[in-house]
């Protein structure tokens, strides 16, 4: 036992930080409570560094419940860093309610859940990890208690989340009934001797997969996303939009690569369809949106669609593409939402029109937003371009040219609404002349994400290599 603990030190550290935050909250005087944010951020970074120390390890621990491999560790590091950005964004928002302790406890618990999902190799652990990720998010979405929209966001997210949790469990019970085990690797070995066309297996798999796709807001399980993104306080939206999706994808990857490697040929049907539907729905519905948060929600759905292509392809290249995509996606979205927060402090309605004239009111923010939107669009020399390129290239390489074509066509559609925001910022006269103040914390996040987006876009080699490191315990290609 004892030695196994070395491998879960990052998780233990996050849990410890969470409890420290919770207990420190009791003793800190009211005006000093924002200190808790920095304690959490320190914990997150420390955990990220400790995780980085584990790169290269390939072990399975805790009675095969949990695996340590490069895929898990890299995603874990990205999750931790992205979460620390999201933590920074909330400091200003929490000044009003002063509920720092609760907020950061919930955030850290959610991060803990995601970390466990990225490494879990057992259906129970995956399920609990997803629940541990989601339950704090339900509460955080409803954090602005007096705001009706926030309540609606929390309730919708919660009800749909519970429904999909039930569906997932049902699917898991079917898989358990078929194979007699919940361990992903053992499921794979058991299935070697069974008829893969068994409809029970197919239904069980579909149920489990649908549960996981809810987490990443892929069509047809995306209905919660726009309302939740719009209603939740924007710092929470930033967190929900950028971070948990990595955990959702990690769960899917584990399931696809570890438990059902035999099915590789068949994934293209399921995930190809999901990817196509998700891309088209996200992009088409993003066009008429007037609210910037809703627009970003649909754009997020579209991005999930692009990323799903890599699961349809499901080989080593696609997997690195996916990890690369996740890194780029997190950076772009955190930055964009940080800017939405800054603008929202002046005009709280979060309409796209509120960005009118931002080019003159706050040239820095407008410039940053332009870069991030171009990156989301997939403009060359940005992270978004490289991410899409890698994913589409892997599809072409495997012979799924149609998926790549659909992806490119969708990127063209997305031009319309991304450029719409840019047009508002530079070509529409401002409604108010009020300047947009940038608090240090938000400025830091914007700066970091813009820098990351640019650096990844201009010098992608290093990140591609990092993503190439990704391999899985028990995976067969």
């Amino acid at each position: 036992m004892g030695k196994e603990f070395i491998y879960i030190i990052p998780e233990i550290l996050i849990l410890t930080t969470a409890t420290i935050v919770l207990s420190l909250d009791i003793f800190l005087p009211r005006e000093r409570k924002s200190l808790l944010a920095y304690v959490s951020i320190a914990g997150l970074w420390l955990a990220a560094f400790l995780s980085a120390g584990l790169i290269g390890e390939r072990v399975s621990i805790l009675a095969d419940m949990f695996v340590i491999d490069s895929f898990g560790i890299i995603l874990k590091i990205v999750i931790l860093i992205a979460a620390s950005m999201a933590a920074l964004l909330a400091i200003e928002f929490l000044k009003e309610s002063n509920k720092y302790g609760e907020y950061y406890f919930l955030l850290l618990s959610s991060v803990l859940g995601m970390m466990i999902v990225t490494g879990s190799s057992n259906l129970i652990a995956v399920f609990l990890g997803i629940q541990l990720t989601s339950v704090p998010l339900y509460i955080m979405a409803g954090f602005a208690r007096t705001d009706v929209k926030s309540n609606e966001a929390a309730l919708k997210y919660f009800l749909l989340g519970v429904l999909t949790a039930a569906v997932t469990l049902y699917g898991m019970s079917l898989i358990y009934g078929m194979t007699g085990t919940l361990n992903l690797a053992e499921i794979a070995t058991k299935l070697e001797h069974t008829n893969l066309n068994d409809p029970v297996l197919f239904i069980g798999m579909t149920f489990v997969v649908s549960g996981f796709t809810f987490k990443i807001a892929a069509v047809p399980f995306h209905f919660w996303a726009p309302d939740t993104y719009e209603g939740a306080p924007t710092p929470v939206t930033a967190f929900i939009a950028a971070v948990p999706k990595m955990a959702g994808f990690a769960a899917l990857v584990r399931l696809v690569f570890t438990a059902f490697p035999e099915f590789t040929g068949q994934w293209v049907g399921l995930f190809g369809l999901a990817a196509t539907m998700t891309m088209i729905t996200g992009n088409i519905l993003a066009i008429p949106q007037k609210n910037i948060k809703r627009m970003l929600a649909f754009s997020g759905i579209a991005h999930v669609g692009y990323a799903l292509i890599s699961l349809a392809v499901s080989n080593q290249h696609a997997l690195s593409g996916l990890v690369f995509y996740m890194i780029a996606y997190a950076a772009m979205n955190l930055g964009a939402f940080a800017i939405v927060i800054a603008v929202g402090r002046v005009s709280p309605e979060n309409q796209i029109e509120d960005f009118a004239g931002l080019g003159s009111r706050s040239p820095l923010l407008a410039g940053a937003m332009t870069i991030l939107l171009l990156s989301m669009l997939g403009f060359p020399l940005t992270a978004g371009f490289m991410a899409k390129f890698l994913v589409f290239a892997s599809a072409v390489e495997k012979g799924y040219v149609w998926l790549a074509v659909i992806g490119v066509a969708n990127s063209v559609i997305s031009l319309y609404y991304y450029i719409g925001v840019v047009r508002q910022m530079y070509m529409v006269p401002p409604k108010t002349e009020k300047p947009v103040p940038i608090p240090v914390t938000i400025g830091a996040v914007v700066l970091t994400s813009v820098v990351v987006t640019m650096v990844i876009g201009i010098f992608p080699e290093y990140f591609i290599q990092l993503a190439r490191l990704v391999f899985l315990v028990n995976a067969s290609f």
Partner: protein, 167 residues
């Protein structure tokens, strides 16, 4: 299927659970729904006893009868001024819901009924508390600890959502 004591007991319990479940979703009296829900949950604990898992059966009764049902009753009585009065069960999407559920049910019936499940040949041995504890803290230690964090999260979450706003 051989007809013996456990099989008969299982059939009785299963039909109790199912009919209770149907009653819960069709009754218009929400209080009746809660009480019948308790019946369903207790019958589930009966199934655990059939599987020789006494501890889990007792846990099921304690948690669901003692805690969950009582909590639900409290919440209902606190929220609704006329507790137990009829509630509306209709909405515009009734047809859609029925259609979806119907499709779902028929797919499941078509797929699951003819399926021959591989059953374990091992003889069922009683799950003693000692054995249960050992499994819980070795094989399932990760889920166990995760559930404890999850419950703590739920606790804090309730405080966040329900506590009085500070002045």
């Amino acid at each position: 299927m051989t007809v013996n004591g456990p099989t008969i007991a299982f059939l009785i319990l299963a039909s109790l659970i199912l009919s209770a479940a149907v009653y819960i979703v069709t009754t218009r009296n929400i209080m009746h729904a809660v009480f019948v829900h308790l019946l369903a949950l207790s019958s589930v604990s009966g199934i655990y006893i059939l599987l020789y898992a006494q501890f889990i059966a007792a846990m099921q009764v304690l948690i669901y009868a003692g805690a969950v049902t009582t909590m639900v009753l409290f919440a209902l009585m606190l929220v609704k001024p006329k507790a137990g009065m009829e509630i509306a069960l209709d909405n515009q999407q009734k047809g859609m819901a029925f259609a979806t559920a119907g499709v779902f049910l028929s797919v499941l019936l078509v797929v699951l009924v003819p399926k021959v499940w591989a059953t374990s040949q091992e003889k069922l041995t009683p799950l003693t508390v000692a054995k249960f504890g050992k499994i819980l803290f070795t094989k399932y230690v990760l889920p166990f600890e995760m559930i404890s964090v999850l419950l703590l999260v739920a606790l804090i979450g309730v405080l966040v959502l329900a506590s009085k706003e500070e002045e």
